[in-house]
Protein backbone atom coordinates (compact mmCIF):
# COMPACT_ATOMS: atom_id res chain seq x y z
CA UNK A 1 0.00 0.00 0.00
CA UNK A 2 1.62 3.26 -1.05
CA UNK A 3 0.94 6.92 -0.49
CA UNK A 4 1.10 9.01 -3.71
CA UNK A 5 4.01 11.45 -3.76
CA UNK A 6 5.61 9.97 -0.67
CA UNK A 7 7.45 6.71 -0.20
CA UNK A 8 5.41 5.47 2.71
CA UNK A 9 4.42 1.84 2.83
CA UNK A 10 2.41 -0.10 5.35
CA UNK A 11 3.83 -3.42 6.46
CA UNK A 12 2.31 -5.60 9.18
CA UNK A 13 0.40 -2.68 10.61
CA UNK A 14 3.47 -0.43 10.68
CA UNK A 15 3.90 2.65 8.56
CA UNK A 16 7.38 2.69 7.08
CA UNK A 17 8.73 5.89 5.56
CA UNK A 18 11.33 4.89 2.98
CA UNK A 19 12.28 8.61 2.63
CA UNK A 20 14.44 8.78 -0.51
CA UNK A 21 14.65 5.08 -1.42
CA UNK A 22 17.60 5.37 -3.82
CA UNK A 23 19.63 7.32 -1.30
CA UNK A 24 18.73 4.73 1.34
CA UNK A 25 19.78 1.95 -1.04
CA UNK A 26 23.10 3.68 -1.67
CA UNK A 27 23.69 4.12 2.06
CA UNK A 28 22.73 0.47 2.61
CA UNK A 29 25.37 -0.55 0.09
CA UNK A 30 27.96 1.81 1.55
CA UNK A 31 27.62 0.42 5.06
CA UNK A 32 25.33 -2.47 6.05
CA UNK A 33 22.34 -1.10 7.93
CA UNK A 34 23.09 2.58 7.24
CA UNK A 35 20.16 2.87 4.82
CA UNK A 36 17.77 1.63 7.48
CA UNK A 37 19.16 4.04 10.06
CA UNK A 38 18.56 6.85 7.57
CA UNK A 39 14.95 5.67 7.24
CA UNK A 40 14.54 5.51 11.00
CA UNK A 41 14.29 1.71 11.00
CA UNK A 42 16.92 1.44 13.70
CA UNK A 43 16.17 -2.05 15.01
CA UNK A 44 16.47 -3.58 11.57
CA UNK A 45 19.49 -1.44 10.74
CA UNK A 46 21.25 -2.65 13.87
CA UNK A 47 20.29 -6.25 13.15
CA UNK A 48 21.68 -6.08 9.62
CA UNK A 49 24.83 -4.25 10.66
CA UNK A 50 25.69 -6.74 13.40
CA UNK A 51 24.78 -9.83 11.35
CA UNK A 52 26.67 -8.89 8.21
CA UNK A 53 29.69 -7.16 9.69
CA UNK A 54 30.26 -9.94 12.20
CA UNK A 55 30.65 -12.61 9.52
CA UNK A 56 32.71 -10.18 7.44
CA UNK A 57 35.10 -9.64 10.36
CA UNK A 58 35.07 -13.36 11.10
CA UNK A 59 36.19 -13.95 7.51
CA UNK A 60 39.43 -12.09 8.23
CA UNK A 61 39.86 -13.84 11.59
CA UNK A 62 39.58 -17.25 9.93
CA UNK A 63 41.40 -16.61 6.67
CA UNK A 64 43.80 -13.75 7.29
CA UNK A 65 44.07 -10.26 5.89
CA UNK A 66 43.89 -11.23 2.21
CA UNK A 67 40.48 -12.96 2.05
CA UNK A 68 39.16 -9.84 0.33
CA UNK A 69 41.22 -8.49 -2.54
CA UNK A 70 40.56 -7.32 -6.09
CA UNK A 71 42.42 -8.90 -8.97
CA UNK A 72 41.79 -9.88 -12.57
CA UNK A 73 45.34 -10.89 -13.41
CA UNK A 74 46.27 -14.08 -15.31
CA UNK A 75 45.87 -17.14 -13.04
CA UNK A 76 44.17 -14.95 -10.46
CA UNK A 77 40.65 -14.07 -11.59
CA UNK A 78 39.29 -13.07 -8.24
CA UNK A 79 35.56 -13.23 -9.07
CA UNK A 80 34.84 -13.50 -5.33
CA UNK A 81 35.41 -9.78 -5.06
CA UNK A 82 32.43 -9.04 -7.31
CA UNK A 83 30.25 -10.55 -4.57
CA UNK A 84 32.30 -9.25 -1.65
CA UNK A 85 32.01 -5.64 -2.82
CA UNK A 86 28.27 -5.88 -2.12
CA UNK A 87 29.20 -4.94 1.43
CA UNK A 88 30.39 -1.52 0.22
CA UNK A 89 32.91 0.59 2.08
CA UNK A 90 34.43 -2.25 4.14
CA UNK A 91 35.58 -3.90 0.88
CA UNK A 92 36.77 -0.78 -0.94
CA UNK A 93 40.32 -0.69 0.48
CA UNK A 94 40.96 -3.68 -1.81
CA UNK A 95 40.63 -1.38 -4.84
CA UNK A 96 43.16 1.04 -3.37
CA UNK A 97 45.57 -1.84 -2.74
CA UNK A 98 45.22 -3.08 -6.32
CA UNK A 99 45.88 0.40 -7.68
CA UNK A 100 48.89 0.65 -5.40
CA UNK A 101 50.24 -2.69 -6.65
CA UNK A 102 49.94 -1.57 -10.28
CA UNK A 103 52.36 1.28 -9.60
CA UNK A 104 55.02 -1.32 -8.89
CA UNK A 105 54.32 -3.41 -11.99
CA UNK A 106 57.15 -4.00 -14.39
CA UNK A 107 56.20 -6.11 -17.41
CA UNK A 108 53.77 -8.32 -15.48
CA UNK A 109 56.09 -8.67 -12.49
CA UNK A 110 55.88 -6.84 -9.21
CA UNK A 111 59.08 -4.96 -8.41
CA UNK A 112 60.98 -6.05 -5.31
CA UNK A 113 60.60 -2.63 -3.65
CA UNK A 114 56.81 -3.09 -3.44
CA UNK A 115 55.33 -2.70 0.02
CA UNK A 116 51.56 -3.09 0.44
CA UNK A 117 49.60 -0.43 2.32
CA UNK A 118 48.13 -0.89 5.80
CA UNK A 119 50.20 -3.93 6.64
CA UNK A 120 48.89 -5.79 3.61
CA UNK A 121 45.19 -5.66 4.53
CA UNK A 122 43.22 -6.63 1.37
CA UNK A 123 46.33 -6.47 -0.81
CA UNK A 124 46.45 -8.74 -3.87
CA UNK A 125 49.27 -11.26 -4.39
CA UNK A 126 52.42 -10.04 -6.04
CA UNK A 127 52.76 -10.82 -9.76
CA UNK A 128 53.06 -13.23 -11.34
CA UNK A 129 50.74 -15.77 -9.80
CA UNK A 130 51.82 -19.17 -11.04
CA UNK A 131 49.28 -21.61 -12.43
CA UNK A 132 51.07 -24.60 -10.93
CA UNK A 133 51.29 -25.10 -7.20
CA UNK A 134 53.14 -25.24 -4.91
CA UNK A 135 56.25 -24.49 -6.96
CA UNK A 136 56.27 -22.29 -10.04
CA UNK A 137 58.44 -22.67 -13.11
CA UNK A 138 61.19 -20.73 -11.39
CA UNK A 139 61.22 -23.07 -8.44
CA UNK A 140 59.46 -20.74 -6.03
CA UNK A 141 55.93 -20.36 -4.92
CA UNK A 142 53.65 -17.31 -5.13
CA UNK A 143 51.81 -15.28 -2.51
CA UNK A 144 48.46 -16.95 -3.15
CA UNK A 145 49.90 -20.40 -2.54
CA UNK A 146 51.57 -19.17 0.62
CA UNK A 147 48.32 -17.72 1.95
CA UNK A 148 46.51 -20.98 1.28
CA UNK A 149 49.26 -22.97 2.91
CA UNK A 150 49.54 -20.73 5.96
CA UNK A 151 45.85 -20.82 6.87
CA UNK A 152 44.94 -24.33 5.76
CA UNK A 153 41.30 -24.22 4.71
CA UNK A 154 40.94 -20.85 6.43
CA UNK A 155 41.74 -18.75 3.39
CA UNK A 156 39.10 -20.46 1.26
CA UNK A 157 36.58 -20.49 4.09
CA UNK A 158 37.21 -16.84 4.92
CA UNK A 159 36.83 -15.87 1.28
CA UNK A 160 33.43 -17.55 1.23
CA UNK A 161 32.36 -15.88 4.46
CA UNK A 162 33.12 -12.49 2.88
CA UNK A 163 31.29 -13.52 -0.31
CA UNK A 164 28.20 -14.43 1.69
CA UNK A 165 28.41 -11.17 3.67
CA UNK A 166 28.45 -9.21 0.40
CA UNK A 167 25.54 -11.15 -1.05
CA UNK A 168 23.47 -10.79 2.13
CA UNK A 169 23.91 -7.05 1.90
CA UNK A 170 22.29 -7.13 -1.54
CA UNK A 171 19.11 -8.34 0.19
CA UNK A 172 19.48 -5.50 2.68
CA UNK A 173 19.88 -2.96 -0.13
CA UNK A 174 16.65 -4.23 -1.67
CA UNK A 175 14.88 -3.93 1.69
CA UNK A 176 16.04 -0.32 2.03
CA UNK A 177 14.85 0.43 -1.49
CA UNK A 178 11.45 -1.25 -1.46
CA UNK A 179 10.66 -2.55 2.00
CA UNK A 180 10.27 -6.18 3.05
CA UNK A 181 9.58 -8.86 0.50
CA UNK A 182 6.15 -10.11 1.53
CA UNK A 183 6.30 -13.87 1.92
CA UNK A 184 4.14 -15.53 4.60
CA UNK A 185 6.13 -17.31 7.29
CA UNK A 186 4.73 -20.72 6.43
CA UNK A 187 5.43 -20.32 2.73
CA UNK A 188 1.68 -20.65 2.06
CA UNK A 189 -0.45 -17.83 0.77
CA UNK A 190 -2.81 -16.55 3.43
CA UNK A 191 -6.42 -16.11 2.42
CA UNK A 192 -7.83 -12.70 3.36
CA UNK A 193 -10.24 -12.93 6.29
CA UNK A 194 -13.85 -12.08 5.34
CA UNK A 195 -15.30 -8.92 6.80
CA UNK A 196 -18.52 -8.95 8.89
CA UNK A 197 -20.60 -7.69 5.96
CA UNK A 198 -19.24 -10.45 3.72
CA UNK A 199 -20.01 -13.00 6.43
CA UNK A 200 -23.62 -11.84 6.79
CA UNK A 201 -24.07 -11.77 3.00
CA UNK A 202 -22.91 -15.36 2.79
CA UNK A 203 -25.35 -16.49 5.52
CA UNK A 204 -28.51 -18.22 4.23
CA UNK A 205 -31.66 -16.18 4.73
Amino acid sequence: MGTPGRHIIEVEGQRVDLRQPWLAAFLAWLWPGAGHFYQGRRAKGGLFMVSILSIYVLAFVIGGRHVVYASWAPNDRRWHYLCQVGIGLPALPALVQTRHLKRFDSGGRTRTDYQPLWGGLMSPPRRPVWASRPLGPEGRTDDLSIWNEETGTGFELGSWYAVIAGLLNVLVIYDALSGPIAIPISGRTEKPKPTNSQKSAAMPA
Partner: protein, 63 residues
Protein backbone atom coordinates in the same frame (compact mmCIF):
# COMPACT_ATOMS: atom_id res chain seq x y z
CA UNK B 1 33.65 -42.93 7.85
CA UNK B 2 33.95 -39.19 8.44
CA UNK B 3 37.54 -37.98 8.42
CA UNK B 4 36.63 -34.35 9.08
CA UNK B 5 37.09 -32.89 12.54
CA UNK B 6 33.66 -32.14 14.04
CA UNK B 7 34.88 -28.71 15.15
CA UNK B 8 34.61 -27.65 11.52
CA UNK B 9 30.87 -27.66 12.14
CA UNK B 10 31.33 -24.65 14.42
CA UNK B 11 32.00 -22.54 11.33
CA UNK B 12 28.43 -23.28 10.34
CA UNK B 13 26.82 -21.60 13.33
CA UNK B 14 27.71 -17.90 12.77
CA UNK B 15 26.91 -18.27 9.12
CA UNK B 16 23.55 -19.85 9.87
CA UNK B 17 22.72 -17.11 12.37
CA UNK B 18 23.66 -14.29 9.99
CA UNK B 19 21.88 -15.76 6.96
CA UNK B 20 18.72 -16.53 8.96
CA UNK B 21 18.54 -13.11 10.61
CA UNK B 22 19.12 -11.19 7.39
CA UNK B 23 16.65 -13.36 5.51
CA UNK B 24 14.06 -12.85 8.24
CA UNK B 25 14.80 -9.13 8.38
CA UNK B 26 14.20 -8.65 4.69
CA UNK B 27 10.79 -10.32 4.86
CA UNK B 28 9.19 -8.64 7.86
CA UNK B 29 9.14 -5.31 9.68
CA UNK B 30 7.96 -6.48 13.08
CA UNK B 31 10.86 -7.73 15.21
CA UNK B 32 8.96 -10.70 16.64
CA UNK B 33 8.05 -11.85 13.17
CA UNK B 34 11.64 -11.35 12.04
CA UNK B 35 12.88 -13.61 14.83
CA UNK B 36 10.18 -16.21 14.13
CA UNK B 37 11.07 -16.20 10.43
CA UNK B 38 14.77 -16.45 11.30
CA UNK B 39 14.17 -19.50 13.47
CA UNK B 40 12.03 -21.07 10.76
CA UNK B 41 14.77 -20.41 8.17
CA UNK B 42 17.52 -21.78 10.42
CA UNK B 43 15.56 -24.99 11.02
CA UNK B 44 14.80 -25.32 7.32
CA UNK B 45 18.43 -24.83 6.26
CA UNK B 46 19.70 -27.22 8.92
CA UNK B 47 17.16 -29.87 7.96
CA UNK B 48 18.01 -29.47 4.28
CA UNK B 49 21.74 -29.73 4.96
CA UNK B 50 21.12 -32.69 7.25
CA UNK B 51 19.20 -34.55 4.56
CA UNK B 52 21.98 -33.89 2.02
CA UNK B 53 24.54 -35.05 4.59
CA UNK B 54 22.58 -38.24 5.30
CA UNK B 55 22.20 -39.01 1.60
CA UNK B 56 25.92 -38.54 0.99
CA UNK B 57 26.71 -40.70 4.03
CA UNK B 58 24.47 -43.47 2.71
CA UNK B 59 26.10 -43.26 -0.70
CA UNK B 60 29.54 -43.55 0.90
CA UNK B 61 28.47 -46.60 2.91
CA UNK B 62 26.85 -48.15 -0.13
CA UNK B 63 29.94 -47.67 -2.30
Amino acid sequence: MMSMDWTYMLYYLPLLAAVSLVYGGTRHEDMQKILAQSWHTAVWITTFMGVIFAVLLLIIWWL
